[in-house]
Amino acid sequence: MKQQSATPSSTGRKLTIALVGNPNTGKTSVFNSLTGLHQKVGNYPGVTVEKKTGSFLSGNTEVEIIDLPGLYSLVPKSLDDKIASDILTNQKQDIVTIDIIVLVADASNLNRNLYLLTQIMDIGKPVILVLNMMDVAKRNGLKIDRDCLQNELGVKVIPVVAKKGKGIDELKREIISLKIAEAARGARHLEVEEKFKTALAPVGDYLREKTAYGPGYVHSLSLRFISSDDALKYWLEEWRDKLDIPHFKSLIAGARKQLESLDFNWHMAEARLRYRWIDRLLASCVTRSDEVSPDISVKLDKILTHSVFGPLIFLLIFAGIFQTIFSYAEVPMNWIEAGMSLLGQWVVHIIPAGLLQSLIVDGIIAGVGAVLVFLPQILALFFFLGILEDTGYMSRVAFMMDRVMRGAGLSGRSVIPLLSSFACAIPGIMATRTVHDWKERLITILIAPFMSCSARLPVYVLIIGAFIPEGRILGIVSYSALTLLSLYLLGIAAAAGSAYVFKKVLKRGGTPSSFVMELPPYRRPSLRWTSLQMYERAKLFVTDAGKIILAVTIVLWFLASFPRNETPSDDGFTKAPIEQTYAGRFGKTLEPLIKPLGFDWKIGIGLITSFAAREVMVSTLATIYNLEDADEGSVDLRQALVNDKDPQTGKPLYTIWTALSLLVYYVLAMQCMATVAIVKRETNSWRWPLIMIVYMTTMAYLASFTVYHIGQLWG
């Protein structure tokens, strides 16, 4: 079974390579320069970890490369880590069998990078060490003796500068010509003292008996289990059926006891031993010259994380990004809407009026439009976020904002996803992938939709414009502006409160959120990489979430078009007035339920159609009041709302309290099918999107109820 894919077949040889390394080592650059644009992004089966593969062809050898998530050690800290670790150690043979492991290390920061390397060399697969960013290492005054490293480690060492494509050809040649069996034998293993070996032996023997691993790796694993309960926990879950767990645990306890009697601190013995080896090795293979050019990152950080300028610059950068998104993404969004409407008109010309035409125009084309209209914002946001990530600035944002997020039980890593959600929750939720702790990521996803997104703005503008009186507080801030600001703050407060509750529920008994994060050196961003990533994210949204959005649009079309008009017109089909359709009837059925919030059936219909996108509320109301082409700025629509009278009492139907209740409802309720679709995708189940709909909408209902009833008491 093993190395099956490495045997030559009639068409040529096929090799499978795993690309692995610490985060921030330029691993992605190596991947990109090896594969060019021959890459594919998908998901590992059953989990939401991104699977990136690519390939290159050399002679008659086809090399497939799997770009594993960056990790610091084989003891997994997150789902991403676990996938990488499982693939490297052959736990995932159903998905892939690896022939060669290529480890990318940052040449300017070898010490910590080699920790993972020495762990990986123990697995027993052939390893190639790629020293990336050799130019930076040279600039920092480091002289790395390649032959010395090769001899000491027993693996091939290839220096490269991946961003400039230097050394990549040599790396390719080395991959193709590597003698698999020989290279696997060559790698050195961690050497430990004899007394230590004796203590480890019972654990190792038991593992060899129960698993298919070789002696080198079993030795390494025994050491890891003795070192840390956390490491042990992960593997035991995996091996529940293979091992007699209580017996295995007693073996480990015995080994620890024996080490204690030898006066050896077993806690994290693996780390101590490996770093001792690495320190010794680097002392002989790397020399540091004293003429070091000053570290540009330290200089930049003097300003960028300065106690005053740091937060200020951060705010300016994000204000700039938001300004750009709001003012420029609007343009292509209008193009998409205009394009879809043109397409609709064209269909109207070629397909006779009727059910089919309506389905295509109002169902399918509208649905495709609803998917595509999100793209400009997603693309723009991911472009900027990609650039900031690539430069290393993102870690600084997390560093600066961690203290703020801690109150809600989150860490600095959640800042970016939540900020992005002010533009649109979809890219925000997709950006939570940088939050490594799964529960923290889940909490971030669950609260992200509380950030008032751009689709709520038209509703806010319409309602505020119609019902909030003119005037200013102290002659400075208008009531309208104050209301708008309060709505944004209400969303933030709801998010903070919910995060606090979710933390209590989800992380009960767990460890408090931790924040240990590398602050990588600043680097020049790569436009090519950023664009590629932006494209991949957009594709993922269209193909995965798009399906759900399209389906829901068609259902909404059905609800808003049926039953058809009782009296057929000449062409056999006319659209029924919206109040006679299922959506309309549903709105009326809903009326008793939403009456306590001050809403009538017209708003009820709007709440249903809002599920397509919140701003659809505006066009729905316009349709109900028979105002064609009215938007949120339309005076007619505002007047129509203000002048609408209760048919029984003759009093105005909507008061300022109805308006406030509605605004509060729009801040808090989960009304966006695209968000639901993306949460389903990112959490890989319907459970969390459903919980999200229920808790947010319940909160919205209670809050609106309270607001409206305070208003009734007020008079």
Partner: protein, 73 residues
């Protein structure tokens, strides 16, 4: 006993021992923070917490609550 948390910006010290043995500490040790390692306190975040340290030639941020568990001399 002084801890990593007590250092001033620019100050360098050698790690002596840890007061905790939890998963978070295991992680720090895997990142190369252990007895005998030299660390330099670089700065703290604008709100005073977390802190930035220089260890084994790279920069790492961690919270003060964690830094308090690392004794230095």
């Amino acid at each position: 006993m002084r801890t990593l948390n007590d250092l001033k910006p620019g100050e360098t010290a050698v790690i002596k021992s840890f007061t905790e043995n939890d998963a978070d500490m295991d992680y720090l040790m895997e990142l190369g923070i252990m007895e005998g390692t030299t660390v330099t306190f670089v700065k703290c975040a604008p709100l005073g917490d977390p802190i930035e340290i220089d260890v084994r030639g790279y920069h790492l941020s961690l919270r003060r609550s964690r830094a308090r568990c690392i004794r230095v001399n």
